[in-house]
């Protein structure tokens, strides 16, 4: 197959390795070493996309990360697709398949393009906002269609088959960019003994040296690069990361590097020895010093028709010719404001193609490159620029005119030339993104005509990234910075002999951004500033006329600098145009802020291995396997997996949750049930001042709790709001065991430590989490004593082992602590044994429990049973705005304790003492079949006009098989004074439920059942 634009020789491609690929369904060929972009250009593919807003045909403009147009959807299947891949950064591989992200039905024949043509004049900035403004309620509808017709890549619709990972790296010196400055810096730092990481986003390290016309030590520049890389690769203290983009610079010299490990090999990562390789990797680097050697991006000139395929950056033209052996056209016109642009003309001529004309905006340019081109007889039009490119799907010709930059007008006759390619160069912009990620504002430099970075602490900069462009200077700069970085990280810097460079004598560059046209900007053909977002010079002019003066506002109004390229090509031109329109200087208009990431990072790399079963730790109790084997359905409680209910199969039919829970509830109320309560937080507290400490953090009294007794406690924050509850047992005079809610365990421990370390360090007390050390099995129901008696040597006599006592003894032959506390309202024993013995004891309980029909129950039954008794769950019935008094739990508050315990003072603040606070009550639905919705709002007058005053909400609601009715706990304004009143719960479907306010204790209000 022919590659019409491929040169017969030259470039760094491997012509012996032919690769077949498809683009928009068409099959093409390229070579190993190509990027997708260079292969497309070699095949003469002009149109790679349709533009975002106007659907104009767009071609490849650049050769690197700054490419705005050649953004493709990579991959075929729904699982392996990757959106928004820049074709200039994607290595070609056998079988690569890519599609344009925009264009319907396809990029060649685009229907939306008609709209762009017709509507172009009618789509000023803010068009969508202005046109689709009213009625506001319709915006969602409009937006759906607008997004459909616009938009960039599409996210893959199936799960990604690849794996990704993270590595944490530490180094003395991280060098970002392996061009001349970066290589020199890495070389110097590594020879000085520093541990160095050198990363570069391209397929090959070497940067501009790979396509330079200059020689180093009288050899081609890339030879020096490969020598240096060889030395660095041999140094065990140097890590080379090619295909690795430094995407984010974060606080304290923390840098995220995205390494694409296999993207150059296939659509998914290959397997080696049966193991799928990691597709890409995030390196999280903490560096002693960061050397920013990210180089510079060339700025295109802004002229009419500058978006037609065939318009390219001058440096990109050189790169394609010299590095890939691709010459992207036949007849070139160059428009430049500096000497660098002339390299493209020289390379074009060397490739044997015609340079039609060069428009140089300067008067009498005479650098070395200018003279070299002039010597070949090329027409150079001085003081002039391409004011317009013409053509539709490819450039057909240009109009060149002398320009008066100061007056922003053309100053002479327009000449027309036929050509198919326009290269433009407006100079270079340092790539300063990483330097400004943590908030430093870059500074404008008039001499360099660009922004240079303001360096954050710990960062150094070398080479083009701060405007040191000349090769010899960039090498020296890199070496200096490399030795500075080594010194600053504690090494003695060694000097490095740099290669000799034949200095080039360049003429002075001129500041040129937008080229004037023979018509005013607003009436001239479109002059694009931001190609990816279809932002034109006219749009920016209009924005400034409409009163947008700050560049940040102009940016948001016009969408300049949005999208995947983040304004890499267009931002500075846009700022210059805004500055011209506002008659201010560029720095007065403002600087743009760059934020991470520099280029889009695939979610896979961000997530790494933290997905699927490794997304979050799962905690299992010591009895988990038993629950699994007995068919438990599980519920997530924090990170814990807790049995939710244990459905049985009755007559070949599996119980529903409702049926299982009803059966489990009945078992506890009438016989005996067993719960794995191991997840309860347990904190072992020791020290002579433990009692005093407990008295300060709990609302109730602890001074006199005897050894062998257990007490329920409420814990508040100092604002008086309940944060957690639980029981605490006195194990010895200076030794207590606190329990917390399952979800609150970690927070409560930190809370205790906070008060101990910051306010009361004089108290002699220590805390240890023992949650995982003890398994807790609750047996509860009228037959609990009978079962435990069969297995334990503890005296279970109701007078000897009373409610709210705990005893030490043996259960099933294992040392145990047994607590006679109840969360069900029934007779209950919480058996605690060391976790390793849990399964033995649990199975022994079942062996003996069979005759009592010992029934395992889960969290759902636990909730129903506790709610019937009005026992709260902190975090469900409370939400950080509920006091002990709101809960009606004054019985658990020690108002007369000598120390003003945490939360006490706040209870008398006016808001906390209000009578109409939301207070906890029970709700009994008038229709007993109704189970109210948790979270449902409560009103007093359902006939009130909307919005109705909302008087409370349901916090817990269940069906009670014991009551044979729905019932609920709720917080209601002034609820304690409203017993017997009727409230209403209007639902989303229009139904209104009625319920009566009752006591939150639905069952056994005197507590006789647990006291037997």
């Amino acid at each position: 197959m022919r590659q019409p634009n491929r040169l017969n020789q030259g470039g760094r491609i491997d012509r012996s390795q032919r690769l077949t690929f498809t683009f928009n369904g068409q099959t093409y060929q390229g070579y190993a070493g190509d990027t997708l972009a260079s292969a497309l250009l070699a095949n003469g593919v002009d149109i790679v996309n349709r533009s975002f807003k106007y659907s104009r045909a767009r071609g490849i403009v650049a050769a690197g990360a700054e490419e705005p147009n050649a953004v493709v959807q990579l991959g075929e299947s729904a699982a392996e697709q990757v959106p928004n891949v820049r074709a200039t950064q994607q290595a070609l591989f056998q079988g690569l398949s890519a599609r344009s992200t925009n264009g319907w039905p396809n990029v060649q024949r685009d229907l939306m393009g008609m709209i762009g043509k017709l509507g172009g004049k009618m789509m000023p900035p803010g068009f969508y906002y202005k046109t689709f403004m009213a009625p506001a309620s319709m915006w969602m509808t409009y937006e759906r269609y607008i997004r459909k017709s616009a938009g960039l890549g599409r996210s893959p619709s199936e799960s990604d088959p690849d794996i990704y990972d993270h590595m944490h790296q530490h180094c003395d010196v991280l060098v970002i960019g392996a061009g001349p400055a970066g290589l020199a810096a890495a070389l110097t730092a590594s020879r000085s003994g520093a541990r160095v990481i050198l990363c570069d986003e391209q397929e090959e390290m070497g940067g501009s040296l790979l396509s330079s016309r200059q020689t180093l030590d009288e050899r081609p520049a890339d030879k020096w690069a490969s020598d240096v890389l060889e030395e660095l690769a041999d140094n065990p203290d140097v890590t080379l990361l090619p295909r690795t983009t430094a995407n984010g610079y974060h606080d304290h010299n923390f840098v995220t590097l995205h390494e694409r490990r296999t993207e150059h090999l296939g659509h998914t990562a290959p397997s080696v020895a049966g193991k799928r390789q990691v597709r890409s990797r995030m390196h999280r680097v903490r560096a002693g010093r960061v050397v920013l050697a990210s180089g510079a991006h060339e700025r295109p000139l802004v002229y009419a028709g500058n978006d037609i395929p065939g318009n390219m950056l001058a440096s990109a033209v050189s790169t394609y010719i010299r590095r890939y052996g691709v010459v992207p056209g036949n007849q070139l016109v160059l428009s430049t404001s500096n000497d660098d642009g002339y390299q493209a003309a020289l390379d074009w001529l060397e490739a044997g193609r015609e340079v039609v004309a060069i428009a140089d905006s300067r008067q009498a340019p005479k650098g070395e490159l200018v003279e070299a081109v002039r010597a070949q007889g090329v027409t150079i039009i001085e003081g002039a620029a391409v004011i317009e490119a013409q053509g539709a799907n490819r450039v057909k010709g240009v109009r060149i005119a002398p320009i008066d930059v100061a007056g922003f007008r053309i100053s002479g006759a327009v000449k027309e030339f036929a050509c198919d390619t326009v290269a433009s160069s407006g100079g270079f912009s340092p790539v300063i993104h990483l330097a400004s990620h943590t908030g430093s504002r870059p500074q404008w430099n008039d001499e360099l005509i660009g922004f240079i970075p303001t360096l954050p602490k710990g960062m150094l900069v070398a080479g083009g990234a701060h405007g040191v462009y000349e090769l010899a200077e960039a090498l020296q700069d890199g070496a200096n910075v490399g030795s500075q970085a080594a010194q600053e990280t504690g090494f003695e810097a060694v000097s490095v002999m740099l290669p000799s460079v034949k200095a080039r004598s360049d003429g002075k560059a001129m500041a040129l951004f937008q080229v004037p046209h023979d018509k005013p900007t607003l009436r001239a053909p479109k002059q694009f500033v931001d190609l990816q977002n279809d932002v034109t010079a006219a749009a920016i002019e209009l924005a400034t006329r409409e009163g947008f003066e700050s560049i940040e506002h102009v940016k948001r109004y016009t969408a300049m600098g949005f999208g995947t390229d983040q304004g890499k090509l267009g931002n500075i031109n846009g700022m210059a145009i805004a500055a011209r329109c506002l008659k201010r200087s560029i720095p007065e208009v403002g600087t743009t802020v760059f934020r991470p990431n520099y280029t889009p990072v695939t979610f896979g790399a961000i997530v790494g291995r933290h997905c699927r079963e490794l997304f979050d730790p799962e905690r299992y109790t010591a009895l988990h396997q038993w629950h699994v084997e007995h068919g438990a359905e599980f519920e997530d409680v924090g990170q814990w997996k807790r049995p939710w209910y244990f459905p049985r199969t009755v007559n070949g039919k599996r119980e529903t949750m409702h049926e299982a829970v009803a059966r489990e509830c009945r078992a506890v109320r009438e016989g005996i049930g067993i719960l794995d309560a191991s997840t309860l937080g347990k904190i072992d507290i020791q020290g002579p001042d433990t009692r005093e400490f407990l008295g300060r953090v709990y609302t109730n009294k602890w001074a006199k709790l005897p050894v062998g007794k257990v007490r329920y406690g409420l814990m508040c924050k100092d604002d008086g709001m309940v944060m957690d509850d639980g029981t605490t047992s006195c194990l010895a005079e200076d030794h207590f065991l606190m329990t917390t809610s399952t979800g609150g365990a970690a927070a409560v421990l930190e809370w205790l430590e906070l008060w101990h370390q910051t306010e009361w360090p004089e108290l002699d007390v220590t805390f240890s989490s023992v949650t995982d050390h003890w398994a807790t099995m609750t047996i509860t129901g009228p037959k609990a004593r009978d079962l435990l008696a069969e297995l334990s040597d503890i005296d279970l006599d109701r007078e000897a082992f009373r409610f709210m006592d705990w005893r030490e003894g043996k259960v099933a032959g294992v040392p145990a602590r047994v607590f006679r506390i109840s969360f069900t309202g029934e007779l209950a024993y919480e058996i605690n044994v060391q976790a390793r013995a849990a399964m033995h004891v649990w199975k022994a309980l079942f062996a003996h429990g069979e005759k009592y029909d010992l029934t395992p129950y889960g969290t759902e039954t636990m909730h129903v049973l506790r709610a019937e008794k009005g026992f709260i769950i902190a975090g469900q019935d409370t939400d950080g705005s509920v006091t002990p008094e709101d809960l009606g739990m004054q019985w658990a508050v020690g108002y007369d304790k000598p120390f003003s315990w945490i939360g006490k003072r706040a209870l008398t603040r006016p808001d906390t003492a209000r009578k109409d606070r939301k207070q906890m009550v029970g709700l009994k639905p008038k229709d007993s079949a109704v189970v109210l919705e948790e979270g449902a709002q409560i009103v007093f007058d359902p006939g009130h006009a909307i919005p109705m005053p909302m008087m409370g909400h349901v916090t817990s609601s269940y069906y009670s098989p014991t009551l044979d009715s729905g019932f609920a706990l709720a917080l209601v304004k002034g609820g304690h004074e409203r017993m017997g009143q009727t409230v209403y719960l209007p639902m989303a479907d229009g139904k209104v439920h009625e319920a009566e306010i009752v006591s939150p204790i639905f069952l056994d209000p005197k507590g006789e059942r647990q006291n037997v």
Partner: protein, 121 residues
């Protein structure tokens, strides 16, 4: 992501090991009952939000579990020092360069490098 020097562990650790706990040096009034509602409300709810130097309470949650203080610039995110409970900061809004004698050890990037070098030697 911050790099934080734990004054108890005497090591540099990643921010992921720590929890921020709000403004430092908020002392609970010794006799809450004698506070007016306004005084108690100030203690409970009102915190400074300065642009510049700020003292914060942190805890080395997955390390030594000790609470300690950090002097941090809220604009540049530079951590000027970390110091133990009960110690006073060397860097303050009034004395941003930490010019007084003594005080806690500087915890900035350079002393970090120095400590790494010491460890290496």
């Amino acid at each position: 992501m911050f790099h934080i020097y734990c004054p108890y562990c005497e090591e540099w650790r990643e921010e992921e090991e720590f929890h921020a706990k709000g403004q430092a040096h908020i002392q609970r009034p010794l006799d809450p009952e004698s506070c007016s509602d306004e005084e108690w409300g100030d203690y409970l709810f009102f915190r400074d939000n300065p642009r510049g130097i700020h003292h914060e309470l942190w805890v080395h949650a997955v390390g030594c579990r000790k609470f300690f203080n950090i002097t941090r610039n809220t604009q540049s995110y530079v951590i000027l020092e970390t110091y133990k409970m009960g110690e006073q900061p060397r860097f303050t809004a009034e004395n941003p360069n930490g010019e007084s004698q003594g005080g806690a050890a500087s915890a900035d990037l350079d002393s970090q490098t120095a400590s790494v070098q010491e460890a290496r030697a």
